[in-house]
């Protein structure tokens, strides 16, 4: 039963464009980094709390922005058909710039 579901999912996922698959890989990467940091914080303690917040939120922010980009460039998603992938990427770049500026500011 479960195997069927996984198979149906992977079959369906194979139809996704490569570009979107790459974005998904980065999403997984960002989530994994955030999880590792959280585990590290639990182990070591909250002492440089600002640094933890900055590192953790850089992952979360990167994840959120990449999700937005993925929604806009996914051809299966008709909601953003009025926005070209180039425009979406330019927005993404600007948002990332601001995000990392804030992150390094807060890092201390």
């Amino acid at each position: 039963m479960l195997a069927e579901i996984v198979k149906a999912f992977s079959d369906e996922y194979k139809k996704t464009p490569v570009r979107v698959k790459v974005l998904d890989a980065f999403l997984v990467y960002a989530l994994a980094t955030a999880a590792v940091q959280f585990a590290y914080m639990l182990l070591v303690g909250t002492f440089p709390f600002n640094a933890f917040l900055a590192g953790f939120l850089s992952c979360v922010g990167f994840f959120a922005l990449t999700v937005c980009l993925r929604m806009q460039v996914d051809p299966a998603n008709k909601e953003f058909s009025g926005i070209s992938p180039e425009r979406a990427f330019a927005d993404y770049c600007l948002a990332n710039l601001v995000l990392h500026l804030v992150v390094w500011n807060y890092m201390g």
Binding site: L23, T33, N50, G55, T66, F89, G108
Partner: protein, 424 residues
């Protein structure tokens, strides 16, 4: 040409200011009865006061002239006075007190309505006219006459700064009792009636059930210190200041002793006239530990020290004040710190503490009111700021994973960007 003159005038003003605080107007029932109080007045003169004795009906009486007070202190020993001569009235006396001057009011059981209402203005309710304090259980004998209205009192308030002492001899009293509202913050019962004494008018029948002012509820002498530090003392007996009581030998409880009146009334009057129990706080300062300079403000969690000098002035001389109950508060709406100050025996009170982990505009407040001493109310505003941007610790080894993750997110963004731009 005018400059030396102005300088001379200024010098005169300074000199007269320095001499201020010692002139007393004493109003008697009749100026001819002044010799009854010579011993009391001599005691005041010895303490440096200049006493001007007048009858209360004297037509030239003046407390204030052209908006300037002519006297610093007022003694009212005219229990029967219904009004005053000259330009003195109740409102003048209240203005006198409002501007920080002191009043000693002595009455007896013939107290007039004017005197009663003046005492009431001070927060002291004198008993009805005609009532006297009686004590049939321990009546004292003076000059061979046993008199139940002669009270040998010794229930003094535990405030040596007001009453002096301790006294072995009793304090002789003959007069009217008073009540002080128990929630009165400013009034202190200096001398209360003995447990067996009560206040009553023998010409009137006793109420049923009897509502007697008796024992400790009957105040014989009440001291009031207003919020502006003006002091008022209401004594139910004017006789206790008289020569005959000061020098009396009284027989009370089978023993013949002298009275403590002389020392007691002298100390009490000096207290009333700000010659005792005056605290002067000065030189309030604060600094970070390890630095002598007073900063503009603090950062949260700084270790700081607060200091203030408090001197007690007695008889014109200041000496270090010693008490363990002076406290300082560090307030931003709520007191975040409220701690007693430690003193070094030389008048400097200090406290070391850690600024709370809260930023905002704080105030140091020293609000000290100890019975018998003038009030201290000092405030000083100090801002407390959070850490500055560059004051956080950085390049910590334990934070390297966080730095690395943020760097890797940036690297990820670059790689993603390249991929996006150069593939189709």
């Amino acid at each position: 040409m005018t400059r030396p003159l102005l300088f001379g005038l200024a010098l005169l003003a300074i000199l007269s200011n320095a001499a201020a605080g010692k002139s007393v107007l004493m109003l008697l029932q009749n100026a001819n009865t002044a010799e009854r109080f010579t011993s009391f007045v001599d005691g005041l003169s010895a303490a440096g006061f200049t006493v001007d004795i007048k009858g209360y009906k004297d037509s030239g009486l003046k407390l204030r002239e052209y908006g300037t007070w002519l006297y610093d202190h007022l003694i009212l020993f005219a229990p029967k006075a219904e009004g005053f001569g000259g330009s003195i009235d109740q409102q003048t006396i209240l203005d006198f007190v409002d501007s920080g001057h002191n009043v000693l009011l002595g009455v007896n059981s013939d107290v007039s309505e004017t005197m009663r209402s003046l005492a009431a203005e001070f927060g002291v309710d004198l008993d009805d006219r005609g009532t006297k304090v009686y004590d049939h259980f321990q009546s004292a004998t003076l000059d061979g006459k046993e008199d139940p209205t002669l009270i040998a009192a010794s229930d003094l308030v535990d405030a040596p700064v007001i009453v002096g002492g301790p006294y072995k001899e009793p304090i002789l009293f003959r007069g009217v009792a008073a009540v002080v509202s128990p929630d009165s913050e400013l009034a202190t019962v200096v001398l209360s009636a003995p447990a067996t004494a009560y206040s009553h008018d023998p010409k009137k029948s006793m109420l049923e059930p009897p509502s007697l002012m008796a024992g400790a509820a009957a105040s014989l002498i009440t001291a009031v210190q207003a919020r502006n530090n003006a002091r008022m003392v209401v004594s139910g007996s004017v006789e206790m200041f008289s020569n005959s009581f000061l020098a009396a030998t009284v027989t009370a409880g089978g023993k013949s002793t002298a009275t403590a009146n002389k020392d007691f009334v002298n100390t009490l009057t000096r207290w009333t006239f700000q010659d005792r129990g005056v605290l002067v706080a000065s030189n309030m300062r604060h600094h970070l530990l390890g630095s002598e300079d007073q900063p503009w403000g603090y950062r949260v969690n700084d270790d700081v020290e607060f200091l203030v000098d408090v001197m007690e002035v007695e008889g014109g001389e200041s000496k270090p004040y010693k008490a363990d109950d002076v406290q300082v508060e560090f307030i931003m709406l709520n007191p975040y710190v409220r701690q007693p100050l430690a003193h070094d025996g030389a008048g400097t009170f200090s406290l070391r503490f850690k600024v709370p982990d809260v930023y905002g505009v704080f105030k140091y407040v020293v609000d000290y009111s100890h019975r018998g001493y003038s009030y201290i109310k000092l405030t000083h505003q100090v801002p407390v700021r959070p850490f500055k941007h560059n004051e956080y610790e950085r390049f910590l080894v334990c934070a390297y994973p966080y730095y690395a993750s943020a760097l890797s997110m940036m690297a990820g963004f670059f790689v993603l960007g390249f991929y996006f731009l150069y593939t189709k």
